[in-house]
């Protein structure tokens, strides 16, 4: 007989370390959950998977049209607005889309959670799957816009170089902040459905408090610190823009933003892990 694991189930919650170990044991399950969540989106819709394409592209087209043709926005020289906008929007969209999905993932996977044990923390992580798909699509959109600008203006609107690696911490930062906000929201959404609607409207408003559609120079100097201090997404969007098209980057603000981000993320994961064993009663 092969080795038999011994499972001990006790009233007191497992240590955080034990929880993270079981997360690793069940890692293969992440793929299944991600797939389930992505499919869940498409189920019962007419356009099915095409929504993955449509949803992020609709605001892109609208916003680019508005701020180039209706009310043109000045950007740094040599960079067309569409490239400027997308260079920040791709990272912003991670946050916005995650806030759209994460509160719903718990309800989507409820029937699975009622039937079997697996670390519940996998659910919000798997909930990032549709967001990552959208991110890849937006990267493709960016490539298309860049290529057309290149062909039109005769020079490449991107800054090619090592700085582009800055996109990696920007994406990681955006994913972390998404989980930071998304995990407690997902828990609360099990009690109140309102959260799902509220958080989506909140994300829409929040975008205009973040330098996504406009350059950060639009914000008066004396208020800029507040934007960075209270909004970790501001520095993340700026970092992503700097990585792709260049410009100034305030290292101090960036460090502040990432520090807040990490502290909040740890707090959020801890809350989720503690709430995890209690969630069963609510499902």
């Amino acid at each position: 007989m092969s080795s038999q694991p011994t499972i001990v189930i006790e009233a007191r919650a497992d240590t955080i370390g034990a929880r993270l170990r079981s997360l690793w044991q069940y890692r293969a399950f992440l793929g299944f959950l991600s797939k389930e969540i992505v499919m869940r989106r498409a189920r019962g819709t007419l356009l099915g998977f095409w929504w993955v394409l449509l949803r992020p592209l609709m605001p892109v087209v609208t916003l680019i049209f508005t701020f180039t043709s209706v009310k043109p926005v000045e950007t740094s020289a040599g960079v067309p607005y569409s490239v400027f906008f997308l260079s920040g929007y791709i990272t912003w969209r991670i946050f916005q889309s995650a806030l759209n999905f994460l509160p719903r993932t718990m309800t989507w996977t409820q029937s699975i959670m009622r039937r079997a044990y697996f670390p519940r923390l996998l659910v919000p992580f798997a909930g990032l799957a549709p967001t990552l798909i959208e991110f890849v699509l937006l990267l493709v959109a960016l490539a298309v816009v860049v290529a057309s600008a290149w062909w039109h203006d005769g020079h490449l609107p991107l800054r090619v170089g090592w700085q582009m690696l800055g996109l990696v911490p920007a994406v990681i930062g955006a994913l972390m902040f998404s989980l930071t906000v998304g995990m407690p929201t997902a828990v609360v959404a099990l009690f109140f459905r309102d959260v799902r609607y509220a958080i989506r409207s909140f994300a829409g408003v929040f975008m205009f408090l973040t330098p996504v559609v406009y350059p950060v120079t639009f914000v008066p100097d004396q208020y800029r610190w507040a934007m960075y201090a209270f909004n970790p997404m501001a520095a993340i969007v700026e970092l992503s823009r700097w990585a792709l098209i260049g410009g100034q980057l305030n290292a101090g603000y960036l460090a502040l933003s990432f520090a807040t981000n990490i502290v909040l993320f740890v707090a959020s994961v801890t809350f989720f892990l503690r709430a995890e064993t209690l969630l069963g009663d609510q499902l």
Binding site: Q25, F32, Y117
Partner: protein, 423 residues
């Protein structure tokens, strides 16, 4: 090999019953429930105090052991805590107190219904179940053929589960559970579905895996099945273990109690300050003694007390009989009216050889004649629901003389047949 496979020690589970508050006219227990969750999350320990809050002790210091190869049946009334126990063993719920030790891998089938992942193929579903039990992918692949064969779904192996014939999700779930080679199997009312052939297959499989050293814990209301396959039975009532012992002994005691009506919940009158209200609803046997179950052959009564306190109100009782989501029939009482406030007793006769071996629900609804709500539906002044079982004590009494002891269908009336040779 260890002498015990599953060891349950003093396991308790308390559900906090939150009082629903009304927020903008909508009743919700969201706020108190959420407050409770945040409170418990913030505190370092999750000890439970027996303070004044409204609590439901779904399990109250339950202890037992299961040896390898044992097939243990768990019986008890609805809401006795059987499913909660299985869910704790499967780690879907965490216990409030106590400790469970399981030596080996666990597969479970807790809630029936739509399949696990309807969009994935049959084979992927098997893989997922295996992963959840912690069985390596290679071993799952090795047992795949056997599982598909058991479920009778070899032809559907690569089609999504939702496109497979209805009922196949359950069959697949069961076959996976049996075929994966885990050491502990938890099954909640698996035998309640499927046709006779499927159930027979289930029972044979349970016996076969039991013989090979797998421990099976299963919850069922089907006493005939329990008697056939279990080596030991645990009877739980209101969260406590009433009796653990040999199958015949415990099942005997349980059915005796059920028939004696001692397991009935205390009758609660409806506190509606209405002109006509239901005071009590009971199930009586043919001698007018309150019982908790009827036998398939003997008649009984669905009996109720109705208080009519105004002379200008005429009360009627509708007794609806339900089986799961199916409304079988409605019987309406004669009108009740009196000059002085009066308590009426009215009962509808349920003939013997009429109901099937099933779990029924009788819904007693009192309404005042001539009163309607805005939509024109009669105003129900009070309502009571009464769950009761119809059981088959002796197999020979059954209208059906096949192996199963249980026939299919909502009712099983004794019908007459005529047989003659055609000219």
């Amino acid at each position: 090999m260890t002498p015990t496979r599953v060891s349950v020690r003093n396991v308790s589970k308390v559900f906090a019953r939150h009082k629903a508050t009304r927020v903008r006219g909508i009743a919700t227990d969201g706020w108190p429930a959420l407050r409770d969750l945040v409170h418990k999350t913030m505190r370092r320990t999750r000890e439970h105090s027996r303070d004044g809050r409204d609590q439901l002790w779904a399990l109250d210091h339950v202890s037992f052991d299961v040896a390898p190869g044992e097939i243990v049946g768990i019986i008890g009334r609805n809401g006795a805590g059987k499913s909660t126990l299985l869910k704790i063993l499967a780690r879907v719920l965490s216990p409030t107190a106590g400790c469970v030790t399981i030596h080996g891998r666990v597969v479970s089938m807790l809630e029936l219904g739509i399949g696990f992942a309807p969009d994935l193929t049959v084979r992927q579903n098997i893989q997922i179940q295996g992963r959840l039990a912690g069985i390596p992918g290679k071993r799952v692949l090795a047992s795949e053929e056997r599982i598909l064969e058991l479920a009778g779904m070899s032809a559907f192996r690569d089609s999504p589960l939702r496109l497979c014939p209805s009922g196949s999700a359950v069959q697949l779930g069961f076959a996976t559970m049996m075929g994966l080679g885990a050491e502990v199997v938890l099954a909640d009312e698996v035998l309640a579905v499927g046709d006779a052939a499927f159930r027979k297959m289930c029972e044979e499989q349970v016996e076969a895996v039991g013989a090979s050293g797998v421990s099976v814990l299963f919850v069922s209301h089907d006493m005939a099945a329990i008697r056939r396959i279990c080596s030991r039975v645990i009877w739980i009532d209101r969260g406590r273990v009433v009796q653990i012992g040999s199958t015949d002994e415990v099942v005997e005691a349980y059915t005796t109690e059920l028939l004696a009506g001692r397991l009935l919940a205390p009758l609660t009158g409806d506190a509606l300050a209405a002109s006509c209200r239901l005071l009590a609803a009971r199930l009586l046997d043919e001698n007018h003694a309150p019982v908790g179950a009827l036998t398939i052959t003997s008649p009984g009564y669905l009996d109720c007390l109705v208080r009519v306190s105004r002379p200008d109100v005429t009360a009627l009782v509708d007794v609806e009989l339900w089986l799961d989501e199916h409304h079988l029939f409605t019987a309406t009482s004669p009108p009740m009216q009196a000059a002085q406030p009066t308590t009426f007793r009215t009962a509808v006769h349920i003939p013997g050889d009429f109901l099937n071996e099933q779990q029924y629900q009788a819904r007693f609804r009192v309404r005042a004649l001539g009163y309607h709500d805005a939509e024109g539906a009669p105003t129900i002044t009070s309502e009571e629901r009464l769950d009761f079982r119809v059981i088959n004590v002796q197999r020979e009494q059954s209208v059906w003389n096949e192996w199963t002891g249980t026939s299919k269908g909502f009712i099983s009336p004794r019908l007459t047949w005529r047989l003659s040779r055609a000219q």
